[in-house]
Symmetry: C2
Subunit: 360 residues, 2 copies
Amino acid sequence: MEMTKTKVHNFSAGPGILPQEVVKQASEAILDFNNSGLSLIEVSHRDKDFMGVMDEARNLVKEILGLPDGYSVLFLQGGASLQFSMVPFNLLRPEGTAAYINTGVWAKKAQAEAKLLGNINVIASSEDKNHTYIPKNIVCPKEVDYLHITTNNTIYGTQYKNMPNCECMLVADMSSDMFSKPIDATKFGLIYAGAQKNMGPAGTTMVIVKNDLLGKTGRKIPSMLDYKIHIENDSMFNTPPVFAVYVSMLTLRWIKKLGLKEIERRNEEKAALLYNEIDRNSMFKGACEKEDRSLMNVTFVMNKPELEDAFSKYLKQANISGLKGHRSVGGFRASIYNAMPIESVEVLVDVMRDFEKKNG
Amino acid sequence: MEMTKTKVHNFSAGPGILPQEVVKQASEAILDFNNSGLSLIEVSHRDKDFMGVMDEARNLVKEILGLPDGYSVLFLQGGASLQFSMVPFNLLRPEGTAAYINTGVWAKKAQAEAKLLGNINVIASSEDKNHTYIPKNIVCPKEVDYLHITTNNTIYGTQYKNMPNCECMLVADMSSDMFSKPIDATKFGLIYAGAQKNMGPAGTTMVIVKNDLLGKTGRKIPSMLDYKIHIENDSMFNTPPVFAVYVSMLTLRWIKKLGLKEIERRNEEKAALLYNEIDRNSMFKGACEKEDRSLMNVTFVMNKPELEDAFSKYLKQANISGLKGHRSVGGFRASIYNAMPIESVEVLVDVMRDFEKKNG
């Protein structure tokens, strides 16, 4: 089978670019899964080959992050949006309070769902400057049930470089920077991430949770929202999203092969190339505070916004896709996830230089 | 690209067999989606091509079932198991009562989740005979908020041939017989079905709901469990399971092309062939009451259970896969979903005859 040549430079914010070898293997498994003569999407999830996929995916996460005993890894459905409810259902006592930091749309949605279930305390916010920075010097009350943060803010292009100091349990939505660099997962009580940025296709959500934090709220939790039930059933309480878990497993193999240190090095290199050009080029300026710039989502605007359409045409001619900024920010956003090759960033930088020469 | 020849006869109970043309198209779209130069699993769900897929999937359901205005079609995540909670969250008033009929494991799980949220009344059960029949002459109290049924019971091989008469709202889990025959959807307030039997791969759940039933319980509903929010957002409240929705859309195209009448005719033909053999063959007997036999999941046991291993070897030699009965019933289960060709059923019947000749 000949691989279709992808010439498009895919800067989509998510679902986003995946390693080409993963895409190819996924396509092949749809035709024949593990030489079974059956398609991946026609086999029972209780088939030993698929049980092996689920096990391998879970173990790869543990290995890549060096997770110690006492943590569980889950592959669930419903995206980060369902985690916004699952987190308080499982961790917020009815009479307790959860702390949230508001760094944008997704952080705010997480707050709103927790508020349906109990008390929340928004201890910091970047709303005053349209979320173009990460709040610093966070003081979190000791007695909260947990502190929830959004480590990378896809829409605005901001990212925590240091986690807030707090004595309480830290819960992190890492949907858009999971596996983009080494982290010390043991600093978190719970981490969740929709797959569709760095880990796989849309359709599954990874959750890492410290087991001994669960079962303490006394709430009646719907089974599908209860982490304990999913842990007891090895993420097979009901039919899992077979395809999304399989492709995540393939992507995790790729991540393990490179290692998070090398992935971080590449991500820093790509981001530096692009941010340096933004700062150098007279036509553009970065959308966020320099110290809080995301290595995943590079947001920038034009010094002359009236030239946006002309620049968009340049992008299109160069086969650059997915660079339109989110409607709440405007301008441009280049999402440069793990699988984005530096060559595509170089093409973008060249286009920016060309545009300056002709219009500067 | 050459199609891999699938020689295995796939009788899996689900995820189960899909039309071969759908499998092939799905594999191709993973390499190149709509000639975009991008993989289906790398494009944004806000991409106009994928928005078109979601629209088409929704419209195909409306067209295939002849749904009138006033019904919404949703593609969600979490399987039927999440619907077990969403149904009472959205339809059961805190002081109300919901009626349930217990026809097996899945029906019971649906009850258990509703019980977490309010009062339920199990108005009929087939538990006395290990769910080998469908309860008849149902009398449902008028004042319940809804009556919940499971139209096809995958594990036991039973299926409602007539829906219970009731004056209240009827809610049906049709996960394993959706789109297997024409239905009058307007007799139901809400229908849900996990995709992974007749509609697509695991990873999405279709919901059909009558709009004017919603918003009446006064409950605080987590956004991801709120049908109204999903309706308002055209199933795009958060990132949908792109791949599962796409493959469902392809399968719905195939269903529309054949038409539900022709699909029903084929399903009846396949089921008759197999049930006739079970009834004729001295080695086997059907597991359920004849009048309640499922056209989707054909369950049978051996008159001499000690021959099960020998028969299993015969099946394996004939490349017949997925015929092991569910652990709670034992024996054998042949799932003959829409995409199962009659040729595979003929192979199974031949094997049963051979086995009788040599062992009878």
